[in-house]
C-alpha cells in the first residue's frame, strides 16, 4: 500500500511543500546568510562576517529591548497563569452561570493585537489623564499597560486550558483524598496541582512564547514611546529593518539572535515541564 501511495507525491505533498519552501525555507536560509552581509535589497549583499552581530550588542536599543522583553515576559507569565489557574479553580465548583462566565473571560482572546492596543490606550490614558500623565510619559507606564493588556487578553485562554485539565481529574481521586481526611489545601497541593501539570506545561509554553514574541500590542499601545524605551525585541527588530537605512544586515542579525533565544526558551521549558508531569 505504501508503494502505491508513494507514487502520488506530486498530488499530495507538492503544493504544500512548494509554498513552504518558497515562503519559509528559502527566506529562512537567505536570512541566515544575509545576517553576515551588508545589504539594502537582498541582491546587493556584501560579506562582512560577524560585523552585524558585533553591532547588535553595541546597539543600546537592542540591549534595552531585551531587558524590557525579559521583564515583561516574566511578570506576564506569572500573573496570567496565577490568575487563570485561580479563576479556573473557582469556576469548576459547579456554580450557576459557569458557562456565561467562561464565555465572557475567554472573549478578549479573539480580538486582534492592534485592536487590543488601541482599546487599552484609550482606557489607560483616560485614567492617567486624571493625574496629568499619559501612557508615554515614562516607560514604566507602558510596561504595566502592556502587562494589564496581556492579562486581559490571555487569562481567559489559559483559564479554559486549566478548566479542561481540572475536569479531567478522576472524581475518585478527590473522593479518596476526602475520605482520608485531607483538607482543601492538601487536596489542591497533592492532587489537583500534580494532576494538572500537563495544563501548566501548555499554558506556560503559550504565555512564554506569546509574551516574548509580542509585536502588534506593543506597536499599537505605545509604539515604543517614549524614545523607544518601551520597545520589545520584535518591534526593535522591525524598526531596525524599516527605520534605519543601512542597518538591514544588523536587523537580520538581531532576528537570528531572537530566533535562537525563542527556540532555546521553548525547548528548555518543554523539557523541564514534561519531566515534572505525573506519569500515567
Amino acid at each position: 500500500m505504501q508503494k502505491t501511495i508513494k507514487r502520488y507525491f506530486f498530488v499530495f505533498v507538492f503544493p504544500t511543500l512548494l509554498a513552504f519552501i518558497v515562503v519559509f525555507i528559502v527566506p529562512f536560509l537567505m536570512g541566515i546568510y544575509l545576517s553576515f552581509t551588508e545589504f539594502t535589497t537582498v541582491t546587493d549583499s556584501t560579506w562582512v562576517g560577524l560585523d552585524n552581530y558585533i553591532k547588535v550588542f553595541q546597539d543600546p536599543t537592542f540591549v534595552r529591548a531585551m531587558g524590557f522583553t525579559g521583564a515583561f515576559t516574566l511578570v506576564s507569565v506569572i500573573s496570567i497563569n496565577l490568575l487563570a489557574f485561580m479563576i479556573a479553580l473557582l469556576l469548576t465548583r459547579g456554580i450557576r452561570g459557569t458557562n456565561i462566565f467562561r464565555t465572557v473571560f475567554f472573549m478578549p482572546n479573539l480580538i486582534g493585537g492592534i485592536v487590543l492596543g488601541y482599546i487599552w490606550q484609550l482606557i489607560l490614558n483616560g485614567v492617567l489623564y486624571k493625574f496629568d500623565r499619559t501612557l508615554t510619559f515614562a516607560p514604566e507606564y507602558g510596561f504595566w499597560g502592556l502587562v494589564i493588556l496581556m492579562n486581559w487578553q490571555m487569562i481567559g485562554y489559559m483559564m479554559v486550558i486549566y478548566i479542561a485539565g481540572i475536569q479531567n481529574i478522576p472524581g475518585e481521586l478527590n473522593e479518596a483524598a476526602k475520605i482520608d481526611g485531607a483538607s482543601r489545601w492538601q487536596i489542591l497541593k497533592n492532587v489537583t496541582i500534580p494532576m494538572v501539570m500537563p495544563s501548566f506545561t501548555i499554558s506556560l509554553f503559550l504565555t512564554l512564547t506569546n509574551s516574548f514574541k509580542l509585536f502588534d500590542q506593543n506597536l499599537a499601545l505605545t509604539g515604543g514611546a517614549p524614545a523607544a524605551k518601551t520597545e520589545m525585541l520584535a518591534l526593535n527588530i522591525y524598526n531596525t529593518f524599516y527605520g534605519r537605512t543601512g542597518w538591514e544586515g544588523v536587523g537580520q542579525a538581531k532576528a537570528v539572535i531572537f530566533f535562537i533565544i525563542v527556540a532555546v526558551i521553548a525547548l528548555t521549558q518543554l523539557n523541564i515541564s514534561r519531566k515534572r508531569e505525573v506519569q500515567h
Binding site: 501511495i5 499530495f12 504544500t16 515562503v23 465548583r93 456565561i100 538591514e248 532576528a255 530566533f259
Partner: protein, 280 residues
C-alpha cells in the same frame, strides 16, 4: 449530601464575585462602544463619562470612519483572505499530512520535523526576506497572499493533522484499496470525513490567526489592499493626528463580527482552542 450543602453556602458570594469580574472584563468593550457615540474631541480627555447632549454625535463617527479607511473594502479583503487561505490550508495540508504519515521513510520524517521546526521560528526571522521573495514572485496581492499563508500555516496544520491520522487504523484504508480505490479517491472518500473534527479545530485556530494578523499582510500587501488591522493602524496616521471618534467607531466595527460569530459558536471555538493547545 454534605458536599452539596457546602457548595451552596459558597455559591452566592462566588457568583457575586464572578459577576463583578465579568463586568471588569467587559468594561473595555463598553468603553469603546460608548465613546464611539461621542464627538471626537470629547473622547481622549474624558473617556469615562457618558455622552451628553453636547457631546453626543449619533453615528457620525461611523459614517466618517467608514469613509476614511474604506472599512467595507477592508472588511471584504479580510473575509476573502481569511476564508480562502484557511480553505487552501485545510485542503492541501491534510493531504500532505496523510502522505507523510502513511509513507514512512527518511524524506517524509525529515519533512515532518521541518514543519514542526517552522512552528517555533518567530516571524521576524523571515519577514524581510519573505516579503522580498513575495514581491519578486508577484505574490503581493490578495490572491498571491493565499499561497504565502499556505506556507506559513503548514507547520501547525500538518503537525495537528499528522497527530490525528496516526490514530486512524490502517485496516480501513487497506480494505478500500482492495476494493480498487486509488489513493486520491481513498483520501477524499474515506480519510477526509474522518478528519473533520481536527479540520474544525485547525480552521478555528487559523481563522483567528489570519483574521487578526497585521504584520504579514502589511509587509506583503502594503497599503494598496488593506485588511481590517492594517486599516485601523493606518487610521492612526502620524503622531498626534489621530481622529479618536473614527478610531472608536472602527474598533467597534472590527470587533463586532468576531463577537457575533463567537456568541453563536462559542462552544466550538473554546473546545477547538483547547484541543489545539493540548495537541499542539
Amino acid at each position: 449530601m454534605k458536599s452539596t450543602k457546602k457548595r451552596t453556602k459558597f455559591e452566592k458570594p462566588l457568583i457575586l464575585f464572578f459577576v463583578f469580574l465579568s463586568a471588569a472584563f467587559l468594561f473595555p468593550i463598553y468603553e469603546i462602544a460608548m465613546n464611539s457615540l461621542k464627538g471626537r474631541f470629547f473622547i481622549a480627555d474624558d473617556p469615562f463619562s457618558l455622552p451628553t447632549e453636547e457631546t453626543f454625535v449619533g453615528l457620525l463617527n461611523y459614517t466618517e470612519g467608514i469613509g476614511k479607511i474604506g472599512f467595507f473594502q477592508a472588511f471584504g479583503w479580510s473575509i476573502w483572505i481569511t476564508v480562502a487561505s484557511v480553505a487552501v490550508i485545510i485542503f492541501f495540508t491534510s493531504m500532505t499530512a496523510w502522505y507523510i504519515v502513511r509513507v514512512n521513510n527518511i524524506m517524509t520524517s525529515g519533512l515532518y520535523y521541518l514543519f514542526v521546526f517552522a512552528m517555533i521560528v518567530p516571524f521576524q526571522m523571515v519577514m524581510f526576506t519573505m516579503s522580498k521573495v513575495a514581491n519578486s514572485l508577484r505574490l503581493d496581492n490578495p490572491f498571491g497572499i493565499i499561497f504565502v499563508y499556505l506556507g506559513f500555516g503548514a507547520g501547525l496544520a500538518v503537525f495537528m493533522f499528522s497527530g490525528f491520522i496516526k490514530s486512524i487504523p490502517l485496516e480501513i484504508e487497506e480494505a478500500a484499496m482492495m476494493d480498487g480505490c486509488n489513493p486520491v479517491q481513498l483520501f477524499f472518500k474515506i480519510i477526509m470525513p474522518i478528519l473533520k473534527p481536527t479540520a474544525i479545530t485547525i480552521t478555528i485556530l487559523q481563522t483567528m490567526w489570519i483574521w487578526n494578523d497585521y504584520l504579514l499582510p502589511y509587509l506583503v500587501l502594503g497599503t494598496d489592499y488593506k485588511t481590517i488591522p492594517i486599516a485601523i493602524q493606518y487610521l492612526r496616521g502620524g503622531y498626534g493626528s489621530i481622529d479618536m471618534g473614527a478610531m472608536m467607531a472602527m474598533l467597534v466595527l472590527a470587533i463586532l463580527p468576531i463577537v457575533i460569530l463567537y456568541l453563536f459558536g462559542q462552544k466550538y471555538i473554546i473546545e477547538g482552542v483547547v484541543a489545539g493547545a493540548v495537541k499542539g
